[in-house]
C-alpha cells in the first residue's frame, strides 16, 4: 500500500482534506481552500530542496621565488607569540597587537607568498589625526586615558587576509500572503490569498575578506571594512618597507566557514528582496550552491594602536586605504554619573518651572 500524502494548510499548518464538492483541498480547522495542483507543486518543491553546497576548490597564495625572502626578517613576540615580518630596512621593537617587546628570530622562510597587496594610502600623521578626532569631544572618556595614550606608538601593519570569490547560486522557496479587506452593512471581510513563491538566481561575490591572523581581532578587521580591491596590486616585497607585516596563522580552510556565513547571509537578503507585492512573506526553505569558488591571499593595510587603562586592553584600528577609524573607548563611570545628575537636575528644573508658569499639575 502506497504512502498517503498529507498536505499541510499554508494558513494554519493543519492537515488538509479533499472537499469533493469544491474539488479542492480544504482545511477543516480554518476553512481555507487550496488548488490541488499548485499545492502539490509547492509541496514537491519543499521536498526537493537540497543542502547548501559551499565548497572552495582553488588554493590561495603561491610559492616564493628563490632569494625573494632573503631580506625579510621575522620578529617574535614572547608575550602573545605573534610573528611580525619586516624587510631589512625596517626594525620592529614592539608587538603591534599586544605592545610588548619583540625580538628578531631570524630570516623569513616558509609560508605562502601573498597574491595581492593594498598599499598604505594614509601615513602615520593622518593616523594620529584620525585617532585624535576619534577621541575628541567624548564627554564620558576618562581624561587620564587621553593623557596616557601613546599616540606616537601607532604602527602600520599589513594584516593577512584570505579573499573569497564565488558565484552564489540560490534556490529559494517562500510563502507569500496578500490581504484584501472590505465590508458591507453587517460584516467586515478579510481575504487572505496564499502564494507559493520560488526564486532561483546567481549572484557574484568578489574579494570577500576573512582575517588570517589570530592576533588581530576579526571584529576589528570587519569594522574597518570595506577595502577597495581595485587598488590592490600584485605583491612585491618593496611595499613592506617602513611597515610590519603579520604572518598568517589561520589557514584559508579555517577561514571558509566565516566567508560562507557572510556570503549566505547576503545571498538570502538579495533573494528576499526580489519577492515583492505581498503583505507578508516567509521563507519556507532554500539552498545555496557556490560555483567558481576560489580564494586568494592578500595583505591589507591597517594602522594599529594598543593601549591599556584600568587593567583593560583597548585596540584602535584605522583602514590604511580609506582612513576609517574604529575602536571602543572606555567609559568613565564618574563622568557618566555627573552627566546623569546634571541632565536630571536641568530637565527637572525646566519642567518644574514650566509647571509653575502655567499652573499645571
Amino acid at each position: 500500500m502506497s504512502d498517503i500524502i498529507e498536505y499541510k494548510c499554508p494558513a494554519c499548518a493543519g492537515k488538509l482534506e479533499f472537499d469533493s464538492k469544491a474539488q479542492k483541498m480544504k482545511c477543516p480547522f480554518c476553512e481555507s481552500e487550496f488548488e490541488v495542483e499548485s499545492l502539490q507543486a509547492h509541496d514537491s518543491a519543499l521536498d526537493n530542496i537540497k543542502d547548501d553546497e559551499m565548497t572552495w576548490e582553488k588554493p590561495a597564495g603561491s610559492d616564493w621565488k628563490d632569494g625573494e625572502t632573503d631580506d625579510m626578517h621575522v620578529y617574535t613576540c614572547k608575550s602573545c607569540g605573534g610573528q611580525i615580518i619586516t624587510d631589512s630596512t625596517t626594525s620592529a621593537s614592539k608587538c603591534p597587537f599586544c605592545d610588548n617587546p619583540v625580538v628578531m628570530s631570524g630570516n623569513f622562510t616558509g609560508d605562502l607568498k601573498p597574491d595581492y597587496i593594498i598599499p598604505f594610502k594614509f601615513d602615520k600623521e593622518a593616523a594620529k589625526k584620525a585617532l585624535n578626532k576619534h577621541i575628541e569631544g567624548r564627554k564620558l572618556l576618562p581624561k587620564v586615558f587621553k593623557d596616557q595614550n601613546h599616540i606616537a606608538e601607532i604602527k602600520g601593519v599589513y594584516v593577512p587576509v584570505w579573499l573569497f570569490n564565488a558565484d552564489a547560486e540560490a534556490n529559494m522557496l517562500y510563502k507569500g500572503e496578500k490581504l484584501r479587506q472590505w465590508s458591507d452593512n453587517n460584516f467586515r471581510y478579510v481575504e487572505r490569498n496564499f502564494y507559493s513563491v520560488s526564486r532561483e538566481g546567481t549572484i557574484r561575490f568578489e574579494q570577500v575578506p576573512v582575517d588570517g591572523s589570530s592576533k588581530m581581532q576579526d571584529v576589528l578587521m570587519e569594522s574597518i571594512e570595506p577595502f577597495d580591491f581595485k587598488e590592490a596590486v600584485a605583491f612585491q616585497t618593496a611595499y613592506l618597507s617602513g611597515y610590519m607585516a603579520d604572518r598568517y596563522d589561520v589557514s584559508a580552510e579555517d577561514s571558509i566557514s566565516r566567508a560562507n556565513d557572510r556570503i549566505k547571509k547576503s545571498t538570502e537578503q538579495i533573494m528576499d528582496s526580489t519577492v515583492q507585492g505581498y503583505d507578508t512573506v516567509s521563507r519556507e526553505s532554500g539552498n545555496i550552491t557556490l560555483n567558481n569558488a576560489e580564494s586568494k591571499y592578500a595583505l591589507y593595510p591597517v594602522w594599529l594602536l594598543n593601549t591599556s587603562w584600568n587593567g583593560n586592553k583597548y585596540t584602535f584600528a584605522m583602514n590604511g586605504q580609506t582612513g576609517k577609524f574604529v575602536g571602543d573607548l572606555p567609559v568613565d563611570s564618574t563622568a557618566a554619573t555627573k552627566w546623569f545628575i546634571g541632565i536630571t537636575a536641568a530637565v527637572t528644573a525646566i519642567c518644574f518651572g514650566i509647571s509653575l508658569l502655567f499652573g499645571l499639575m
Binding site: 538566481g201 546567481t202 530637565v347 518644574f352
Partner: protein, 177 residues
C-alpha cells in the same frame, strides 16, 4: 557634536512635555462648572373658546413633558408658561496646583531624559561591530534571476460582524390624533 545632539534631544523632550502641558491647560476639565439653561414659552389657549383652539390643545400632550406645574400661570384667556431649567449644574471650581506632584512628575521626566541621554553617550563610545554579510563585495547589479514563479495556492475569507450601537431614539413625544 554628539553632545550637542544629546542636548537637543533633551530639550526636545522638554518642549514636547511643555507642549503637552500647554494643550492640556487649554482643555477644560469637568471640574469647571458646566451650566446650561433653556427658556421655553408656551401659549395655552382657553379650551372653551373655539373648536380650532381645542384642536390646537390636543396636538400636544403636555403630560409627557416633565415640566413643573408652577411653570404655568393662569391668565384670563390664555396661559403663559415660563420655565427656566438648569440641565446640569455642578459646583464651580478650578483644579488646584500641587507643587509636590508637579515636582515629582518633573523629576521623573528629568530622570528619563538623563537616562536616554547618557545611554546614547555610552553607545557612541562603541564603534566596533561585526559585519553580518558581504554586501560590500557583491558585484553591482549582477543578479541573474533564472526562475521567478508566483503560484496561487488558495484563499481564506474571514467574516467578522460589525458591532453597532443601539439605534438612535427620537424625542419622547407622543402624538395624539
Amino acid at each position: 557634536m554628539k553632545i550637542k545632539n544629546l542636548a537637543a534631544s533633551a530639550v526636545s523632550i522638554c518642549l514636547m512635555f511643555s507642549a503637552a502641558f500647554a494643550v492640556s491647560s487649554s482643555y477644560k476639565s469637568p471640574l469647571i462648572s458646566l451650566e446650561a439653561s433653556a427658556e421655553y414659552e408656551f401659549e395655552l389657549i382657553d379650551e372653551t373658546k373655539t373648536s380650532e383652539n381645542v384642536d390646537a390643545i390636543e396636538e400636544y400632550d403636555y403630560n409627557e413633558y416633565n415640566f413643573e406645574e408652577n411653570a404655568f400661570q393662569d391668565n384670563d384667556d390664555t396661559y403663559q408658561g415660563y420655565g427656566e431649567y438648569d440641565v446640569s449644574t455642578y459646583e464651580s471650581g478650578t483644579a488646584s496646583y500641587n507643587p509636590v506632584t508637579a515636582f515629582i512628575i518633573s523629576l521623573i521626566i528629568g530622570l528619563l531624559a538623563a537616562l536616554v541621554a547618557v545611554s546614547v553617550m555610552k553607545a557612541s563610545m562603541r564603534s566596533v561591530h561585526r559585519k553580518a554579510g558581504a554586501m560590500d563585495y557583491r558585484m553591482e547589479s549582477n543578479l541573474k534571476l533564472e526562475r521567478n514563479h508566483d503560484t496561487f495556492l488558495g484563499k481564506k475569507v474571514d467574516k467578522t460582524p460589525i458591532a453597532r450601537a443601539n439605534p438612535p431614539q427620537g424625542p419622547n413625544i407622543s402624538m395624539k390624533r
